[in-house]
């Protein structure tokens, strides 16, 4: 194991309790962590109660693992439990300066923050990135184009561009500008689970300046796409109990969301993660589940039920770090 890598055990349990029996339920699950260059899923299983009559594993159109199932017998309770063991390796962006020197080798390398800042400063000017994505520019960057436009939860409007503009000064390096936007959102918006629901429009988030991690991610995506930049929504987890001496991060004990921005580099393209809820660039404390254009593409459970009337939903996420050669798992 890479000494800098982190290993986690994640349990994500979702329970629906229905007021009256559900006769048919079909569900799509984005609960299996995707493989990334910096992340490996070592163990994984999903258990479903009641046992589905039909179940299938496949990949969705963004390359995320997807589980489909259907229960065609009446049931008043549905429990979906996903359990994974995941290794996450450091992956903060490392960009060489224009003269070819690696930022890790700069004199101030002892300070990780300074190294990161230097690396971000080496990213190309944001306007040039917009130009490389505009129609007519060759080659056509298909993957980036997929995350360039409006999507059901992310609007493209001049209000968002206007909000982002102070951070995107002329010729500013892309990643530096994105970091500034993240900081602005983090400082001006309040985390408030009561303020919004899944259906709160992103424009309302901008007006009210409060919400949860999904809202901040959608807002940041709206800002970037309204400027003509490509950015995707990332769904995942955060460590529940922080290491001793470190502050507990917001968004733990539930699934978390952040964004990833497209940045062309000399050695190919790079997607760089930003977490506006915590004002940081995700590294080994963030576990990636799936990515898409917005929440709608990768919501952990999406289903259609017949019957059921009202229901109660309970979601519990527990992330346990590997310590002293093993997991100290909470009692089941």
């Amino acid at each position: 194991m890479n000494p800098a890598a982190a290993r986690y055990h994640v349990v994500h349990e979702t329970t629906y309790a229905y007021e009256s029996p559900v006769s048919v339920s079909r569900q799509l699950l984005h609960l299996t962590p995707r493989e990334c260059p910096w992340q490996s899923c070592l163990e994984h299983r999903i258990s479903i109660d009641p046992e589905p009559g039909f179940s299938r594993s496949q990949c969705d159109h963004f390359g995320n693992p997807l589980r489909l199932f259907a229960i065609e017998a009446a049931h008043s309770r549905l429990v979906v439990r996903s359990e994974s063991t995941i290794e996450v390796r450091p992956h903060l962006p490392v960009l060489p300066s224009a003269d070819g020197t690696d930022s890790r080798e700069t004199p101030s390398a002892e300070s990780a923050t300074a190294a990161l800042a230097a690396s971000l400063a080496h990213s190309p000017p944001w306007e040039s990135v917009c130009e490389s994505l505009a129609y007519g520019a060759m080659p056509v960057r298909i993957e980036a184009n997929r995350f360039l436009f409006e999507s059901p939860y992310v609007r493209v409007k001049h209000e968002f561009a206007a909000y982002a503009k102070p951070c995107f000064t002329p010729q500013r390096p892309l990643l530096e500008a994105v970091q500034a936007l993240m900081q602005r959102i983090h400082s001006e918006f309040e985390f408030d689970p009561e303020a919004t629901t899944v259906s709160t429009p992103v424009l309302k988030i901008l007006e009210d300046k409060r919400g949860v991690c999904q809202d901040f991610a959608h807002l940041m995506l709206a800002c970037l796409r309204s400027l003509g930049l490509s950015a995707r929504y990332v769904s995942g987890y955060l460590l529940t109990q922080p290491p001793p001496g470190q502050p507990r991060l917001v968004g733990a004990d539930a699934s978390h969301a952040w964004i990833s921005v497209y940045c062309p580099g000399p050695d190919g393209s790079l997607w760089v993660d930003f977490d506006p809820t915590n004002n940081l660039l995700p590294d080994t404390q963030h576990i990636t589940l799936a990515w898409g254009r917005d929440f709608g593409d990768v919501s952990p459970l999406r289903g259609v039920i017949l019957g059921g009337d009202e229901h109660e939903l309970d979601v519990a996420v527990t992330v346990t770090p590997w310590e002293n050669g093993g997991f100290i798992l909470p009692e089941a």
Binding site: H61, Y135, N145, L148, V156, V198, V304, L306
Partner: protein, 858 residues
């Protein structure tokens, strides 16, 4: 010789005239038809116009207009004069539109597959990834035969130089082919000789090819393929057409809730259980088709449908995702795509189109705004076209600012100049009016490649100078006659799909929803029938003069009130007193008159008042509503009678009819109801749907009869002279009675006839015994336990000793035991029958209306 029609036909030089050449001569393909028209008398033409209008009303050809606040069906508009095209000209159109269908299909294959058009820069990614019509979960799906478009339509217009242009592509689920068929049916009968002499090409073959192709590609796995037509339901603007096509093609008309996905397969919920569906011809927009993977807020779709498509277990036509091509921006990129994908030159140009997402196009658009029309790039923008030359001052600046702010969302198009064709003026005796026309041409996928329907839907602008033609905006339509050079092909089915082993005898494809609607159709027809008989008994006594008729009138009125057929009287309206008061001994002639007018008002309200839900107007509305949902099951003739009644009622709701008109209306209504009953007995297949219709009718009748007779026995006013006579009228038994007894009606023989006689179709016992029989047959067919809940009530009724009434003086008796005992038994029967109805609904219709709901968890 009257002056020629051409003498007042205005000629325009700035647009192409379909009938007249530049030199003012009638074009050769039009000559025989024009000569006929020129020679036709005004009477002949009036006759033809009224035929067209009548057929449309009677066939119920409607088009729902969303903008209409009442949501009312609007009659379809059809001009009697066809658009005529020569065989040679048609050949060109046909070749070009077929090529376009191939091209668009290839574009879909590419965009949902390799996306080379995007990678090579031949198509802007914004028009794909930025388009709601691009259904992301459909990427990678390969429909059978790589056929995405099974039915495609191109909207064509002709420019002043005579060339045809494509002005829009319909790839989602093109509407109008059914209307074209209906237009043909009507117009070929308006001009039968011309139609035959000119050798107009027939349309039927086209639809048979489409059917063959669907059957061929449906993954039927050795079964006879079950193909259904999926509709969003009766609120859709073209629902008439969905029902019409379903009947024409012989496909069950289904809504999303009629279908269910189990495992990887799609099933139709029928009375006898689930039946596998192999292909779906859809009229539902693709993003609404599966709330699980597509739009989660869709209550119209089938959860899991996409998975069934992905697994190759069902064919959906057109394929889910094909609405992607309905973008105003796409045509500008088609010439390039045609070279790239087909290696051919695009045969028919599109109207000049500039997508503002390209910098040069944006600048061009702003510079030439006066000559362009601005449209939204995507249908989801629901933007009305903006004509550049109408924009002045601020509005113009505003538009330019909008274009600059979001150039990708806009498209500039050249103004389309429509050609003109003559339409027959409905306001003059004999006059042709020049009207702008656009032609919608249909293409179907067949085993031998794409095939064009030889004809099409010609849409006609409301005014001669229209820049825009839309049925939603008051346009009209024409039949389209394509002439043939070498005789008309008579259609023949090439391949036989049904063998002896595949013969189907029962209506096993009936969806439960259809059966429920048939059941209620039966009940509402009978309910209208019963109400009409009762009101007729009342109104006919109202027109009889003299005080003698009053007691009987008062008793009918009381029964109407007891059966809740009359609206509640207005408290302030002094005229509306109860019948009891009207019968008072000391009544003056003047008072009598006042009471009569009160009866009249209320009875007419019971017929015409739409607000009063339990009256005839309300019940006819419900009858038409349930009928609309199963209209593909009825013959068109059935609609004629119903539609006429509805139209009359609409007039009556504004101006109350005279009593004599109201009586005539009730007669007409009873005639319609008995012709529906006759149709059911004589023309409908005896399947379970039929059985439910008849059961509905019997249940409604037994409830009405037992309630009416029970109340008759309980009410005091019925003791008056003449009451038993109307009771017999009410049960349509007066003739039988007279032929049997040849005397003034008496209670005992009357009750024997209308309660106990099992040969009288209007007797209580007849209803019960028949119901028992039908229910037994039903349980045998469906394998359900037999419902014998009617038996005890029937037995109790049969054990009632009629002899107890033998020495009863009915005119004198009040609350006597024999009358009350029989009334109690009848009340019991009514209650048991109502419970039976609920139980049938529980057993057979419960899942109808079950709509899936989306759930999301983070």
């Amino acid at each position: 010789m009257p002056r020629t029609l051409l003498s007042i036909y205005p000629r325009k030089t700035d647009r192409f005239d379909e009938m007249l050449a530049a030199d003012g001569e009638v074009r050769p393909p039009w000559r025989p038809f024009f000569e006929h028209l020129n020679a036709a008398t005004p009477e002949q033409m009036r006759h033809r116009l009224s035929y067209v209008r009548r057929r449309i009303l009677e066939n119920g050809v409607t088009y729902n207009v969303y903008a209409d606040p009442k949501g009312a069906d609007r009659p379809w508009e059809l001009d009697p004069l066809p658009l005529i095209l020569s065989a040679g000209e048609w050949q060109e159109i046909s070749t070009a539109v077929t090529q376009r269908a191939r091209l668009l299909n290839a574009v879909l294959v590419d965009l949902y597959g390799e996306q080379t058009l995007l990678r090579d820069g031949a198509l802007p990614p914004a028009l794909v990834y930025g388009h709601n019509g691009f259904l992301w979960p459909c990427q990678g799906i390969r429909p059978p035969g790589d056929t995405w478009l099974h039915l495609y339509a191109a909207d064509l217009a002709r420019s002043p130089d005579g060339r045809w242009w494509v002005i829009a592509d319909r790839t989602q689920s093109p509407s109008g082919a059914g209307y074209a068929l209906e237009n043909r049916l009507i117009i070929s009968r308006v001009f039968p000789e011309q139609f035959n002499d000119l050798g107009v090409q027939h349309l039927a073959d086209f639809f048979h090819r489409l059917q063959e192709n669907l059957a061929q590609w449906a993954p039927h796995e050795g079964e006879i393929p079950l193909i259904v037509l999926l509709t969003p339901g009766p609120y859709n603007e073209t629902y008439f057409e969905h029902a019409y096509l379903a009947r024409y093609l012989g496909y069950p008309l289904v809504e999303g809730q009629d279908l269910t996905v189990r495992g990887d397969c799609v099933y139709l919920k029928t009375l006898t259980g689930l039946r596998r569906v192999h292909a779906i011809l859809r009229r539902l927009d693709d993003d609404f088709c599966d709330p699980l993977e597509l739009r989660g807020d869709s209550a119209l779709g089938v959860p899991g449908l996409l998975q069934a498509v992905r697994a190759g277990k069902v064919l959906v036509a057109n394929a889910l995702g094909s609405s992607l091509l309905e973008s105003a921006a796409l045509p500008g990129f088609l010439p390039g795509a045609c070279e790239r994908l087909l290696g051919e030159t695009l045969a028919m140009p599109s109207v000049g189109t500039w997508w503002c997402g390209e910098v040069a196009a944006l600048e061009f658009t702003i510079e030439h705004l006066d000559h362009l029309v601005i449209k939204g790039s995507f249908p989801s923008q629901r933007m009305d076209p903006v004509f550049g030359n109408e924009l002045k001052g601020d509005k113009r600046d505003e538009m330019i600012a909008r274009l600059r702010a979001r150039p990708q969302a806009y498209v500039a198009q050249e103004l389309v100049a429509f050609s003109q064709a003559p339409a027959w003026s409905t306001k003059h005796d004999r006059r042709l009016l020049p009207r702008g026309v656009a032609l919608r041409v249909y293409v179907a996928a067949t085993a031998a490649g794409y095939m064009v329907m030889p004809g099409g839907l010609t849409r006609v602008s409301a005014a001669s100078n229209a820049r825009y033609i839309a049925m939603q905006r008051g346009g009209s339509s024409k039949d389209t006659w394509v002439l043939s050079d070498d005789g008309v092909s008579t259609f023949s089915l090439i391949k036989h799909l049904v063998g002896k082993a595949d013969l189907v005898h029962s209506g096993s494809n009936l969806s439960s929803r259809v059966v429920e609607n048939l059941y209620w159709f039966g009940r509402y027809t009978e309910r209208c029938d019963d109400a009409a008989r009762l009101l007729r008994a009342g109104l006919s006594r109202l027109v009889e003069t003299g005080a003698d008729a009053t007691p009987a009138l008062a008793s009918v009125f009381d029964l109407c009130r007891a059966l809740k057929l009359l609206p509640e009287p207005d408290a302030d309206d002094a005229r509306l007193v109860t019948a009891i008061d009207a019968r008072a001994e000391h009544e003056s002639r003047l008072e009598l008159k006042v009471h009569r007018s009160g009866f009249e008002t209320q009875m007419l309200d019971a017929i015409c008042d739409e607000e009063w839900g339990d009256g005839i107007a309300g019940n006819i509305r419900r009858l038409l509503w349930v009928g609309t949902q199963v209209r593909e099951r009825f013959s068109l003739d059935n609609w004629h009678a119903l539609n006429r009644l509805q139209q009359k009622l609409q007039r009556y709701s504004k101006v109350r009819p005279e009593i004599s008109d109201a009586l005539a209306f009730l007669d007409q209504m009873l005639l319609a109801s008995s012709s529906l009953a006759g149709f059911a007995m004589d023309n409908m297949t005896r399947d379970d749907g039929w059985r439910f219709l008849i059961i509905g009718r019997r249940i409604e009748r037994v409830i009405f009869l037992s309630n009416a007779i029970s109340q008759f026995l309980r009410l005091e006013s019925t003791r008056a002279a003449g009451s038993i006579e109307w009771l017999l009228e009410l049960t349509d038994s007066i003739i039988t009675y007279r032929s049997r007894y040849m005397a003034q009606p008496e209670l005992l023989p009357a009750l024997d006839l209308i309660v106990f006689d099992n040969a009288n179709p209007h007797a209580v016992v007849f209803q019960l015994q028949n119901l028992v029989r039908y229910l037994r047959r039903l349980s045998r067919e469906l394998g359900d336990p037999h419902d014998d809940s009617l038996q005890p009530a029937l037995a109790r009724l049969l054990s009632f000793d009629l002899g107890r009434l033998e020495n009863l003086n009915f005119s004198e008796c009040r609350q006597c035991d024999p009358c009350l005992d029989l009334a109690d038994i009848l009340d019991d029967i009514s209650e048991v029958s109502a419970t039976l109805s609920d139980r049938l609904a529980m057993r057979y219709f419960t899942h109808v209306g079950d709509v899936g709901r989306q759930t999301l968890a983070a």
